[in-house]
Point group: C2
C-alpha cells in the first residue's frame, strides 16, 4: 500500500514507522526531522521492542510525494487553514484520507475540500513523544479506532483496520466516528489543557482531592456535551472512572502534546480541542462552564498569530 504520512510529529512518525516495518511503501512529509531521517533512518523505542528503519522516504513538500492509497494526516490542527492545500497533491479518486488529528473539525475541513466519501477519521490512544531528530519514543498504549466521516462500518474501514492490526497496531473500525472523537476529548480536554496551563503531568492533578474532583467535573461536562450530540450510543458514566484509572496506571507522568507545544513555544490546539467542541455542545444546549474557563486561561497565554 502506498501511504503518505502528512504531519510527522510523534503520532505520524510512530504509526508510519509501524506501517513501513510491515512492508508498506510509506512516504513521510518531514520538517524538523528531514535531515536526520533521510540520512540515518528512523528509530522507534517502544515497550513492545525498539526498532530501526534504515531507509525511509522523506519529503519536504507533498507535491513530490505522488498519489497514494492512504493519506495519513497527523498535522497539528493549528495549521488547519493550510490543510486541504497540503493534502491535495497526494489525493486521487480512490485515495482514503484518514485524519488522526486531535479534536473536532478536521474531517469537516477535508470533506469540504475532497468530498465526504474519501474522508475517514480516527483517534489514537497512545503515549508517544518525539526524541532527538530521527527518534520517536513510544511510551504506552497505542491503539487506533477509526471510522468513516459519513458513519457506518464500511468495508474500506474494516480493511484499513486490518492493515493496522497486521502492522502491530491494535485497530478497530467503529460505527460512529463522532462518538470516539468525543471519547478522546474526555481525556484531552482536561489533561491537555491543565498540563499545558501549569506545566505539570496528569498525576499532579490526580494527587489532590480538589484538583482530582476538578478533573472529574471537566470529564463530566465533556460527556454531557458528547451525549447531547445524538451519538449512536451514549458515553456511560463508567467511562470517566475507567479513564481516570487508566491515567493513574499508564500516563500519570506523561506529557500531553499540548503541554509540549507550550514548552516548545508552539501555538496550542485550542480550536480543535476546546472552541469547536464548546460550539457543538452549546448548539445542543449544553454549557461546559469549566471547559470554557480552562480555554480562557489557556487563551490568555497565547501569542497573537
Amino acid at each position: 500500500m502506498k501511504i503518505a504520512v502528512i504531519g510527522s510529529g510523534a503520532v505520524g512518525l510512530y504509526y508510519g514507522a509501524r506501517l513501513k516495518r510491515a512492508g508498506h511503501d510509506v512516504r513521510f512529509l518531514l520538517r524538523r526531522d528531514y535531515d536526520a531521517i533521510t540520512a540515518g533512518g528512523l528509530t522507534v523505542t517502544s515497550p513492545s521492542g525498539d526498532f530501526h528503519l534504515p531507509e525511509v522516504k522523506g519529503y519536504r513538500d507533498t507535491s513530490e510525494m505522488g498519489e497514494v492509497d492512504l493519506a495519513l494526516v497527523a498535522l497539528k490542527t493549528y495549521d488547519n487553514d493550510k490543510l486541504a492545500e497540503l493534502v491535495r497533491p497526494v489525493v486521487g479518486e480512490r485515495t482514503a484520507i484518514l485524519t488522526l488529528q486531535n479534536g473536532l473539525g478536521n474531517e469537516e475541513l477535508l470533506a469540504e475540500a475532497f468530498g465526504a466519501g474519501l474522508v475517514m477519521g480516527g483517534i489514537a490512544i497512545i503515549g508517544v513523544n518525539r526524541g532527538e531528530p530521527g527518534t520517536v519514543h513510544h511510551l504506552a498504549l497505542g491503539s487506533i479506532r477509526l471510522g468513516e466521516f459519513g458513519g457506518g462500518r464500511s468495508p474500506r474501514a474494516l480493511a484499513l483496520a486490518e492493515t493496522f492490526n497486521a502492522a502491530g497496531v491494535q485497530c478497530q473500525a467503529v460505527e460512529d466516528l463522532r462518538r470516539v472523537r468525543w471519547e478522546k476529548l474526555v481525556w484531552n480536554v482536561p489533561f491537555n489543557g491543565l498540563c499545558a496551563l501549569l506545566n505539570r503531568t496528569p498525576g499532579f492533578f490526580l494527587a489532590k482531592a480538589e484538583s482530582a474532583a476538578l478533573v472529574r467535573a471537566l470529564m463530566e461536562e465533556v460527556v454531557a456535551g458528547a451525549n447531547a450530540q445524538g451519538l449512536t450510543e451514549p458515553i456511560p458514566a463508567s467511562f470517566i472512572t475507567d479513564n481516570i484509572e487508566r491515567t493513574v496506571t499508564h500516563t500519570a507522568d506523561y506529557r500531553p502534546s499540548m503541554m509540549i507545544d507550550r514548552i516548545e513555544g508552539r501555538p496550542l490546539e485550542l480550536d480543535a480541542i476546546y472552541r469547536i467542541p464548546l460550539k457543538h455542545a452549546r448548539r445542543h444546549g449544553v454549557r461546559m462552564v469549566r471547559v470554557e474557563m480552562l480555554l480562557a486561561l489557556l487563551a490568555a497565554g497565547e501569542q497573537e498569530r
Copy 2:
C-alpha cells in the same frame, strides 16, 4: 492612642507607619524586618509623598508589647490557628481589635477568643508591597472601610475611622461589615488566584476577550454568593464594571499578595479567600463553580503543611 500592629507585612507596616506619623504610640510585631526597623527605622514610599520614621518600636513577641487601645491585626490568614494566642497579650477589657486580614472567617475566630464586643474588621483597598527590610512601597489607592463584627455604625467605629482619616488614611465606618468583606472578595477571588496561578498581573487577564470574560464571570459568581447572605443592601451589577475599570486604571500591573506568596514560597490564603466564602455561598444555595475550579487549581500546587 496605644496601637499594636500584629502582622507586619506590607499592609500592617503601611497603616502602622501612617498612624505613628500622626503621633500615635505604635508598636510593631516584627519578624523579617525586626533588625532593619529597630536599627534604622521604617521608610514608606508613596505617591502622596515618601517619609521615613527614624525611631520605631519593634517587638519579636506580643507578650512584650503591653496592653493597647487598638490591636491592628494584619497577619496572613494561613497562620490563623495561632491567631488568638498571638493577639491575647495586648488585649485588655477596652481594647478594640481590628482585623484587616484578607477574606472571611477572621472576625469569627477573634470573637470566639475575646468576645464579639471587642472585634471589628475592615478591608483595605490598597496596592502595597514590601521592599527591602525596613521599606514598604505604597503603590496605589489606600482607603479602609471598617465596621463592627456585630454590625451597626458604632461610636467606637466612627471614632476609629476619624483616627485613620486624621492620619491621612481615607477611612469610612460602615453599617454592614460583611458587605464590604464580600465586596473586597469580588476583586480578591479572581485576581489573587489567577495572578498566583499563572504568575501574571491583572492586566494580563483583562487584555484578551476570553480571559476578561472569565474575570467578569468569577466576579458575578462572588456577587451572587454575596447577595445570598442577606446583606443590608445587595451589591449591584455596576460594582463589577467599576471594579474592572478601576483595575485597568490603577492595578493592571500590581502583584496581588497571593501572587507574591506563591513566588516567595509561602502558603496561599486559600481558606480565607476561597474555601470559607465557598462554604458561606453553598450554605445559602449558591454554587460558585468557577471559583471552585480556581481553588482546585491553586490547591493542586500547595505543599502539605
